[in-house]
Amino acid sequence: MIIDQVPQRIVPAPCNDEAPLLDMRGLRIEARSGEAWHVIVHGLDLTLRRGEVLGLIGESGAGKSTIGLAAMGHARPGCRFAGGSILFSGRDLLREPAAGRRALRGTRIAYVAQSAAAAFNPAHRLIDQVVETAVERGGRSRVDAMADAKDLFRRLSLPEPETIGLRYPHEVSGGQLQRVMTAMAMVCRPDLIIFDEPTTALDVTTQVEVLAAIRSVVEDFHTAALYITHDLAVVAQLAHRIMVLRHGRLVEEAPTRTMLEAPCEDYTRSLWAVRTLEKPAEPEAPCLLQMEQVGAAYGARRVLDDISIRIERGRTVAVVGESGSGKSTLARVITGLLPPVAGAIVFAGEPLPAQTQKRSKAQLRRIQMIYQSPDAALNPRHTVREVIGRPLEFYGGLKGREREVRTLALLDMIEMSATHLDRLPSELSGGQKQRICIARALAAEPELMICDEVTSALDQIVQAGILKLLRQLQTELSLSYLFITHDIATVKAIADRIVVMHRGKIVEQGDKREILAPPHPAYTELLLSSVPGLDPDWLTRLLAERERDGGTHATSWPDRLPKTGNRHV
């Protein structure tokens, strides 16, 4: 156990007297789009002292990752440094020759990437990658470095610390990989570690473990860190100080507690916009879709078991669960892409044919689906006009002028305009793309919309917009939603009923208020308690609580569920 008897976290104040470890002055970075270069970081100043953890927070496009990489003197292909200085313990990385910069990397400045699964080389064993820098460039013996790595594995509470390094990346779960990567960063005892969204790709239950592990080693070794994230609640658990960035500019900078308790800027507040939404309770309504003891399988592997769900007209059922819980499979079963092996689905009083091909055009029209990633769900070669126009033509037989009028009406409904008609998806923002997906679904005049993680790829403020839009459409058109998500905040904002799923089974289901209020079954409890709170002491308190409740389950849940994070579908 790494979290010992510290009930209340004591933040050690970084010493102010010594020279800053990292000092960026007027940093300007440009990126190329087509033939032109435009500025993406506008003269940023940033100071980091030894042992200090600085949180960088902002939405996508804020330039936070670019700044993180700049701290290592690295610019991604298509980016370039255009001005300013980056002093790392007195050396200006921008004026240092390539070999000099390289000498610092890995040894004195280390990097922990967002997706450990992608950032580990699939061709080599973990231990070889962990000790590579120490052995090749740190001048340490392999035996020594390996012993150290194993010690770090132990400190980071990885299972089987002696042998886990012998595995290949694909043999280790996402949360564990993220900790191995932290060990890799640590092995040379760097002065500075850049954490670039290290927990974003993880399930909430796993995220807790990784956060705890990172915090413990950073504190143990008194390492300075830049912690980059879009989630304020997460960064609040680690950072001494937080900088809010937007469009490559500083919005606000303050010590963590100050930032949370009294943000100066409205923008900062909008970063937790979704948390403030809550759908009021609604009365019961007639049933639209009923699943009775449905089971599904990929080949011999059973992925859904005994699923009974009821969706009412004009209401929202939220399905929550971690990755691998079967919630997306549920959507495939309803749409007929994965015919069930057991049970029945009744839609509007009629049994629904199991396979998509067997369903009538009308049946297909009445159930529409919206996907997690609008990028993947929109054909990059089709304009908005084609995307929305096709279902109008296909189902409604609308042509020419009629179709145009209806398309414009739909665009208006999703708060977009005629100017977008001839754009390709690549010319739209993420939120706009998701709205187009919604419009395409609406064009079919459906009764049930299946929303598969529709907001999880979006920034908070955009999420809030989409959720509001969906709620509004529901009231106007009396739509039913099956809302699949892993995010409890979203659930609160949109759901009437909640279904909690785990390993292909329903753990618990019921009215939203009922489910969100204790007592919960153990799994629901774990899921709900792992959602970070907007409170710097949340993690400390949670760990202490779990410790008190008999201990081991806090850290061992993810290890007992090795499949999380690695979906084999």
């Binding site: 998509t356 996907y371 993947a376 990059p380």
Partner: protein, 284 residues
């Protein structure tokens, strides 16, 4: 206009490539007007040097000298561009039509259609290309349409594999699932959903396959199955005159250089369009 701007901003290498291709296209279109002599006109002794040996007595005024029958090499090159490029182009278009259609079908239908098509292609690829061509041409006779047909068929197997690989990835995209869920037919899915997104890597492949076809036609000419005399094509020009190389005569280098230049030019353009990563150019 946008296209023009894009072309103007292309790197030097791509511009060079486009210039060479433009010259070749001009030769194809305007051969009779560009060529100083007739295609089969004999203008002098065989293998008379061109501009580098203008002082040789009795040499006709030719830029690149004469070939083994005393025909003007420049003229033959210009007319040869016609035969070589048109044959290669028609063949490539044919092989792509066939390969793309079957490849898309395999990717979109999956299941047994995919199995049958893929296994057939595997089978065809297990057979040495040149030998296959030789046998088929022996059966049906070596006319230009036959050569085009045979090469197109052989090449279509390669196009099939690439199309299938690219299209299988695309067919797994959500937007294709959206179309399936909407109830769209297979034709629409292949044509409107998958094809437009597969076209970039396939276009890159088109350039490369065009070059390979070009070389293959030249090789067939070498064996005596390609373009028949007295029509000019670059492959046969190299072949007919290659004996002269051993005697230090440079003439066969010109058609060979023409082949190389066009190949390099096309690849420079492909490199620029940046789609090179799409292809699995797995053979010759």
């Amino acid at each position: 206009m946008q296209l023009w701007l894009k072309l103007m901003r292309a790197p030097l290498s791509a511009k060079l490539g486009m210039a060479i291709v433009a010259v070749n296209v001009a030769c194809v279109v305007f051969a009779p007007w560009l060529a100083p002599f007739g295609e089969t006109e004999i203008v002098g002794q065989s293998w008379v040097p061109g501009f580098w040996g203008a002082d040789v007595q009795g040499a006709p005024a030719t830029w690149l000298g004469t070939d083994h029958l005393g025909r003007d090499v420049l003229t033959r090159l210009i007319f040869g561009a016609r035969n070589s490029i048109v044959i290669a182009l028609v063949t490539t278009i044919l092989s792509f039509s066939l390969g793309i259609t079957t490849g898309l079908l395999a990717a979109a239908m999956r299941g047994w259609v995919d199995q049958i098509l893929s296994r057939t292609v595997d089978l065809m690829m297990g057979f040495p290309t040149l030998i296959f061509a030789l046998m088929v041409l022996a059966v049906i006779g070596s006319s230009i349409p036959a050569v085009i047909g045979v090469i197109a068929l052989l090449d279509a197997t390669r196009v099939f594999r690439i199309t299938r690989a690219v299209a299988t990835d695309i067919a797994a995209q959500d937007y294709v699932e959206v179309a399936r869920l909407r109830g769209e037919g297979m034709g629409w899915i292949m044509r409107r959903e998958i094809l437009p997104n597969a076209i970039t890597p396939l276009a890159a492949e088109f350039g490369l396959r065009f070059c390979f076809v070009f070389l293959f036609v030249a090789t067939l000419s070498f064996i005596g199955l390609g373009v028949q005399p007295p029509a000019a094509d670059w492959g046969s020009m190299v072949k007919e005159n290659s004996a002269a190389i051993s005697f230090g005569i440079l003439m066969p280098l010109f058609p060979a250089a023409a082949i190389a230049l066009l190949t390099v030019a096309i690849n420079l353009i492909i490199d620029w369009t940046g789609a090179t990563a799409g292809g699995v150019h797995d053979d010759h």
